[in-house]
Symmetry: C2
Subunit: 492 residues, 2 copies
């Protein structure tokens, strides 16, 4: 596990985060997260450090979805074109983005198969066979998989690519109340993962009509704030109403024996993009800073060795490692030939939350020296109590990362009451800006367009459950009375 290369300080990582775009592409490379040199555009390699993070994140998110009553399933990667065509808005929205399988072996297929860009058209084809009675509902299934979209916008590793990892949950309810409650549950699941485990604060939006998922009645989504003060969408939940159910022929018999059309939601926690946002938000000049929950290594043990003491020190390190592993921690010893300082820099760059140093003096005094990645704070703790101390510090690191990220988000929520103010705020500090807007459904695309043209920002939607405009406000685009407050931000 431990690296063996010898490098000098400047070779490791020392990049100012104020040029975020540069910082991001440098950390992708230096921390060996992705390799961009694969010979298909928009497709990247997940290197081991990132893949271990992805596996932890999948496991956290799947466990939250299962707690909320979802079961795992797996659908084929290919979807027949005829399935796609059943829901007209859906096919219109997605066809520019679909990769098509058309040949197999030496011949042509009879009809084209889509590489799943999302799996409504696969799931609901089967749901029409599985759902018969009210006792089959709610039906709540998820799959963890990669999806494929022929993005024509510039790709950015893990944030926008042609292949990305996510989870998709597809839920069916007897009535709209069930479906609407699911939106709140998805919001709670999102909070349990992003906020509680990863320290990523977010704002939950109802998206404008023109920015809805193709085929949805309403789209809800969580936006986090990137270091360059642009919004980035994390999980979304789409309230599908009965549109897909009608298109795919979903019907159930209710308690009275009548056939009824169910209501649906779908929910898409992004794995690749969440990892990108996590790296971006918590990282610093020295590299990644990983919360405990997702760090492939939570504690790196570095022996501080002097001539003649090697054996005793290594023995003590092994002792500590097995002690910590028994208490469920992910621990490695860096026993490479590098000098301790080089090891420190390397594992700091990788984002390992806690470094444990053991030298002859620690052995004498029965202690371990613990160093926090986030603050650099050093602490001597009793060897016998190291596991407990490490878990406590792990919690403090998460709390600290979350506090800093929340401060950053909160200090970038502003108000503007005119186009001029909005332009100023977006240019001077960026972030999220509340503005009065004329249309509650935000189907007034004209006003949203005006905002987009004038400001580089875009209407991200209304804040969920807090939509009302104060009395007397007017839409910043058209001057008519405001019907709601919307949030504008520059966005990924």
């Amino acid at each position: 596990m431990a690296g063996t290369e010898t490098t000098s300080r400047k070779d490791i990582f020392n990049v100012d985060k104020s040029d975020f775009s540069n910082w991001y592409s440098e950390i992708m490379k230096t921390a060996d997260l992705v390799d961009l040199r694969y010979n298909v555009k928009g497709f990247v390699i997940y290197r081991p450090w990132l893949m271990r993070m992805a596996k932890e994140l999948y496991s956290i998110w799947e466990s939250e979805l299962e707690k909320a009553g979802h079961s795992p399933t797996l659908f084929p990667v290919v979807i027949p074109e005829e399935n796609f065509e059943k829901e007209k808005n859906h096919v219109q929205g997605f066809s520019p983005q679909v990769f098509w399988v058309t040949e197999a072996g030496e011949g042509k297929l009879e009809s084209r198969l889509a590489l799943r860009p999302t799996s409504e058209a696969a799931f609901y084809h089967m749901y029409s066979l599985w759902i018969r009675s009210h006792s089959d509902l709610p039906l709540k299934l998820y799959q963890s998989c990669a999806v494929y979209r022929y993005e024509t916008k510039a790709t950015k590793p893990l944030i926008r690519g042609r292949e990305f990892l996510w989870i998709e949950a597809h839920d069916v309810f007897a009535d709209d109340a069930g479906a609407l409650a699911q939106i709140r549950e998805d919001m709670a699941t999102t909070k349990a993962v992003l906020h509680d485990k990863l320290g990523i604060p977010f704002i939950f939006f109802r998206r404008p009509a023109f920015d809805k998922f193709a085929g949805a009645v309403d789209t809800y989504a969580a936006d986090a704030l990137m270091p360059d003060k642009r919004a980035v969408q994390l999980p979304s939940t789409h309230f599908l109403g009965q549109g897909f159910a009608q298109a795919f022929g979903l019907l159930f018999e209710d308690q009275n024996g009548s056939k009824r059309v169910p209501y649906q939601t779908c929910h898409g926690p992004p794995i690749s993009r969440t990892l990108a946002v996590l790296a971006a938000i918590h990282g610093d000049r020295k590299g990644l800073v990983l919360p405990f929950a997702i760090a492939p290594i939570q504690v790196i043990i570095v022996p501080i060795v002097y001539k003649g003491e090697q054996h005793t020190v290594m023995e003590r390190c092994e002792q500590l490692a097995s002690k910590l592993r028994r208490s469920g921690l992910r621990v490695e010893i860096d026993d490479s030939e590098k000098k301790p300082g080089m090891k420190f820099y390397y594992w700091e760059m990788k984002g390992v939350p806690i470094r444990a140093e053991i030298g002859p003096r620690d052995i004498e005094s029965g202690t371990v020296t613990l160093v926090r990645r986030d603050t650099g704070h050093r602490d001597k703790v009793e060897f016998a109590r190291a596991a407990g101390a490490i878990k406590r510090i792990g919690g403090e690191i998460l709390a600290n990362l979350r506090r800093n990220a929340s401060k950053d988000l909160e200090s970038h929520i502003s108000d503007a009451n005119s186009m001029g103010e909005l332009i100023d705020v977006l240019a001077s500090k960026g972030g999220f800006v509340n503005v009065p807007f004329c249309s509650r459904d935000m189907d007034g695309e004209a006003c949203a367009d005006k905002i987009a043209e004038a400001t580089e920002g875009e209407v991200r939607g209304t804040v969920f459950d807090r939509e009302d405009a104060p009395a007397g406000k007017v839409c910043i685009a058209c001057g008519r009375p405001a019907r709601c407050m919307v949030v504008v931000a520059k966005a990924y």
Copy 2:
């Protein structure tokens, strides 16, 4: 988790296993493992019970591979045609099986992209960039993914399909000794999973030349025995020599500063097929019988409720469930409205290894009644000691399943010294038959063909490390002196 349907005994499962093909397709349906009604031929849906088993199996196998020094990675699902064409045997072997992506959005792609049928042509393209020096070796990476093969043979769910789940490990070594040692390590990993955790015995073969992986020097593979006494291939390891390394331009600088071509192996543990074989080998007339390691539910608690006692009994069940969960067991309570007998049959069919019954008498006596799925044996244990007893019984179930499967395998290993004997043994009892054979490399395809034509069996290879023919034996196909013993079996 608990089902709510009311069914009668015969609706659940009661299928004689002697007609194995029927048993297999019935259990796939009744235990809700796969749904075959998806509208693309050869592609199936993994239902929750199977998907939970798949997740456990992935986790077991990945952990063994990591213990053996592998790290996780993830490569794109698409592979450019030009990568495939680098290794001539490889492209020849695989092109009849490749699905091709040729279109995206509204247009045609400039060149075709293969859906990975296996990922040598993706991995080794990048390995040529990553490997520079002897200190980069050994390089041992694996990915967990689905692969796609346009099978023209009849498909059988989970055993042969057009999309299946597996792991692929791709290892690179400085010399052939390292690569050859990897074959033994893969064999050990296979044993640690199949034999030690799942109770699936197997024979490890070196495959005949005509049955090698396209592009390999030698193919090694584990065969298990299905209930119809046919062989089924589980993991395989391919010794690739330097062929792929030369084709993809892999070079490293050795200690002396000379450029050298490394040696490679690849290894493919199948997830889908292992689940199929597991179901097939351990299942019985009542349904699945799952080993502890892979059971989505290890203990199903069934309250034995009489009027007026519901509350006390349910409380006790909850108490047991949390107690067992705290000790790391996967436990559910079936609190559905079904009668206890119906619950017993249902969970027996699903293969849950242990049923825990709690009724008023158990509460009085401070006990729990445990029933083993494999033997049906009932045991009363102290409530306070239930977790320990369950873990012990879990071990006994695995040992019993393994013992039965091993007995079955061993009693189906025979010898034959002539074509006539071979025909008789294959017809009367099936299984694996040792026969003397003329060619040590088994490149004498003519003799293998004669055997295949005369017997319905096929040459599976020589047993790894036990190849020698006793003195005086002659090839059963050509009568020349035997150079080795090969094993013939009917096979999937």
